[in-house]
């Protein structure tokens, strides 16, 4: 969404900000209103990174807005600090530091818990400002006398006083804020933020430390809030205590949702609508206090019917008007595609040199998992050699899924040991294991549903190329070494090259299934586990997926669970049969087919019954 031509958005923003003072007065906007909109917009840039991009809805942003604002205002009014910009930056740093500490607590939980905790935290800050710290913050009087910025350029002094003069300063701050936010959103970290919003489970499974990234988003939002809070004091020549109120947080959330989340500019649009309606309804229509009710109703209606807010709605409209023909082209594509060239592997599977180690790739000994009294897996010994293709079968309740989950460290075994390439991985986290080169594709698709195919694979590939956590916030995605190759390679491998820029939601089921495998492949695993790769496929799709799996298998070690015996036996070299949580047998497909115990396990004693 935010790619297109380089610097297009930056340029448009700059033009908009330059033109605004000439246009807006004619629309009835006072300079002071415009300045307030920009402060809200700046506040919202960080919040949108947190909410719109990372999916964390915080109702406690006022804590950081107030913290930044009061630190800056205190420095400027009480501490005799003369440099306005310096004070703003110190305020921002203070807010970011606060954000880090608060984030450590709030991010212990997700979803509604996170929302509730942030609300509670913000309320604490409000009371602390009012009471224990009132000597520093002026309590309910706030801090009056915040100066406006001036810069001594040697030959002249530029002083931004008020109105459109101050606008220049605030607009510049906003512009820089936009540039930074855009860099972040387009960086690898930004890509991972969206992954967390769309599917935190899979983001973890492909090898990202999502807690670290969530904390990053939280701190970024706090930093933006802190700077904006400082600007509020400068703008009003007074730091108001109500910056800390729950209303502030609420207003930010509403403005963001009204304008459109996940767009960066949504909060600005929302603030414009908000402040315009406030003026318009109050003065022009004489509604008095009812303006907020009208805004509330507008907000509720937008949430009900226009989830993307105003910008999202406009984007939909634009797509509807301009993109209809384009889309029908894209839809015609898959039919022609599925029938063609699946057979030859487009590219050789990537060989990962791993010199030091020889011996079984994976070795599990005495693996046991109990749930209360229920034994799901009991004392399983299992080993897979380099380059092997292993199938796992077993009747319902044999414990196959539990076994896979233990191998990928999604769940910890009750007892037993798992050794991957000579290294004990028992008790590690799924993220770490993926980083070591072991991952799986899921039985039920776990995709990043809001993104395109290419973006999906990018996220998986990034984990392998950058490690589980790295703060390259200002790096361009395209400058990550090897990323493009790896994504293209995987696209070709799962035969989705022609669908690379299609959103996941528009894919056919079979394509989603291939992408599911692609996500695992893009992390370049040396051992790949496939949990029912053929589940839910039509017979024709099965045939093609088997071909696909064969081509992937070159140079890789894979373990596959599936119920489709014919397909599985065609694919694998050896099969392990599980029954009632134990290994029943290990052998070639032929041995398995002809083994009486296996037949017995599957047919549940029918022979005995018939004989009787």
């Amino acid at each position: 969404m935010l790619k297109q031509r380089p610097f297009l958005i930056e340029t448009l923003t700059a033009i908009g900000l330059i033109v605004a003072p000439f246009v807006l007065p004619h629309l009835g906007f006072a300079p002071n209103t415009v300045n307030r909109i920009l402060v809200w917009g700046l506040f919202g840039l960080g919040f949108d990174i947190l909410f719109g991009f990372t999916g964390l809805l915080s109702f406690g942003q006022s804590a950081f807005y107030g913290t930044g604002g009061f630190v800056a205002a205190y420095l400027l009014t009480r501490a005799g600090f003369g440099n306005v910009l310096g004070a703003l930056i110190i305020g921002m740093i203070a807010a970011a530091a606060t954000g880090y500490l608060i984030g450590l607590i709030a991010l212990r939980r997700t979803g509604i818990y996170f929302a509730m905790i942030t609300v509670a935290i913000a309320e604490v800050f409000f009371f602390v400002e009012f009471n224990p710290l009132s000597d520093f913050t002026g309590g309910e009087n706030g801090l009056p006398g915040v100066p406006t910025p001036s810069f001594n350029l040697g030959f002249t002094t530029v002083h931004f006083t008020n109105g459109w003069s101050l606008y220049q300063f605030i607009a510049l701050c906003y512009f820089i804020g936009v540039i930074i936010a855009l860099r972040i959103v387009r960086s690898p970290v930004g890509a991972i933020f969206s992954a967390i919003r769309d599917n935190p489970l899979r983001a973890t499974a492909v090898g990202h430390n999502i807690h670290g990234y969530k904390l990053t988003a939280f701190v970024i939002a706090a930093a933006y809030a802190g700077f904006a809070g400082g600007l509020l004091g400068v703008l009003q020549a007074f730091m108001p205590p109500d910056a800390f109120t729950f209303d502030t947080s609420g207003q930010l959330v509403m403005q963001t949702a009204i304008g459109g989340r996940g767009t960066l500019f949504g909060p600005l649009v929302g603030a414009t609508v908000w402040l315009f309606l406030q003026d318009f309804l109050q003065s022009a229509l004489g509604l008095g206090a009812a303006w907020k009710l009208v805004l509330g109703v507008v907000f509720v209606l937008l949430v009900c019917f226009l989830r993307g807010g105003i910008i999202g709605g406009l984007a939909d409209l634009y797509r509807l008007l301009s993109g209809r023909r384009k889309r029908s082209d894209a839809e015609a594509e898959p039919d022609t595609e599925t029938t063609l060239h699946l057979a030859p592997a487009p590219m050789q599977a990537k060989e990962v040199a791993h010199p030091a180690y020889s011996g079984p790739v994976l070795k599990a000994t005495g693996l046991t998992k109990r749930y209360g009294g229920l034994v799901a897996n009991s004392d399983i010994d299992f080993s897979v050699n380099q380059g092997e293709l292993r199938g796992i079968i077993g009747p319902n309740g044999a414990g196959k899924s539990t076994f896979f989950k233990m191998l990928t460290c999604e769940i910890a075994p009750t007892s037993g040991q798992i050794v991957f390439e000579g290294r004990d991985i028992t008790g590690l986290k799924v993220t770490e294991v993926c980083q070591l080169g072991l991952t799986k594709s899921y039985q039920v698709n776990q995709l990043f549903t809001g993104l395109t195919v290419r973006q999906n694979l990018t996220i998986a590939a990034l984990a392998e190329l950058r490690g589980k956590f790295r703060l390259d916030l200002f790096r361009k995605l395209s400058s990550v070494k090897g990323l493009t190759e790896q994504v293209e390679h995987t696209l070709a491998l799962v035969n989705l090259t022609r669908r690379a820029d299609t959103p996941v939601a528009e894919l056919a089921y079979g394509e989603k299934r291939r992408l599911e495998i692609g996500l695992a492949l893009a992390t370049s695993p040396r051992l790949l586990l496939l949990d029912e790769p053929l589940a839910g496929m039509s017979p024709r799709e099965r045939v093609e997926t088997v071909k696909l799996l064969k081509s992937i298998a070159r140079g890789r070690t894979m373990i596959i669970i599936d119920h489709d015996m014919d397909s599985l036996f065609e694919l694998v070299e050896r099969v392990t049969v599980l029954q009632e949580g134990k290994v029943l047998l290990d052998g070639t497909p032929e041995e398995i087919r002809t083994n009486a115990a296996v037949q017995e396990a599957y047919l549940g004693g029918v022979h005995g019954e018939i004989a009787a």
Partner: protein
């Protein structure tokens, strides 16, 4: 008129196509078994009948009325009950509460005594909470919860899975009694011996398609059929 008549039933999980044009019928007082491998679509078939999964197309005539697409409480009120594979006992409710709750909206109810006569174990444990039951007791409770509504048809999804042979034996006996009393049952089960002991007619489902229909006796005489669709 058949009690259940299914035609052209297609069901999905999300966008994963599970059932393909399934057609089947169940007569009154009949025990029908649905066989197939893991993931073949047996559970989905039962769930589609019960309305837990909403079929995307096709018709399900139950006692003469089309129930496809209805919410499951309506289907339950029409006289169908599904005993889920996972049993889905309410763990925080007592055994008796579980049973009583199930009977709330039933037009005609089994008296508790009749339930306890059938499953004496449940009577002993009537004040225990659902979480305190063993697997076998949970299964009995799940079945009891269905029976208390005096349903026209009971769908049993893997009722014997993971249970000790003694308990399976008891449950099979209970099901036989039910069948003898004229209860219509659709059974999904991996335990072939138990299935063939109960069912008079068999459907085999493979990859979401019904591939065989016939009397249970016939199946005993044709082991190659079993081998093909259920074996390895």
């Amino acid at each position: 008129m058949s009690l259940i008549e299914v035609n052209g039933l297609n069901s999905y999980y999300g966008d994963s196509h599970i059932l393909f044009d399934v057609a089947m019928h169940v007569e009154r007082h009949e025990v029908v078994a649905l066989l197939g491998r893991n993931g073949a679509g047996k559970s989905t078939t039962l769930k589609s009948l019960m309305g837990v999964v909403t079929p995307r197309s096709g018709s399900v005539k139950f006692d003469g009325i089309d129930i496809a697409g209805r919410r499951s409480h309506r289907i339950a009120q029409a006289g169908m009950q599904l005993v889920h594979e996972e049993r889905r006992i309410f763990g925080s409710l007592s055994v008796e509460e579980n049973i009583v709750l199930a009977g709330f909206t039933a037009p005609k109810r089994w008296p508790l005594d009749r339930i306890y006569e059938m499953f004496p174990r449940l009577k002993e444990r009537r004040n225990n909470r659902g979480t305190e039951l063993s697997g076998g007791e949970q299964q009995m409770l799940a079945i009891a919860r269905a029976l208390v509504r005096d349903p026209k048809i009971v769908l049993l999804d893997e009722p014997f899975e993971g249970l000790a042979p003694v308990i399976v034996h008891d449950l099979v006996k209970a099901c036989r009694e039910l069948a003898a009393a004229g209860q219509t049952i659709v059974l999904v089960e991996q335990n072939l011996a138990a299935t063939l002991a109960l069912a008079s007619r068999i459907y085999i489902i493979n990859n979401g398609h019904i591939v065989h229909e016939g009397p249970a006796q016939e199946l005993k005489a044709q082991p190659e059929l079993l081998q093909r669709y259920l074996g390895v």
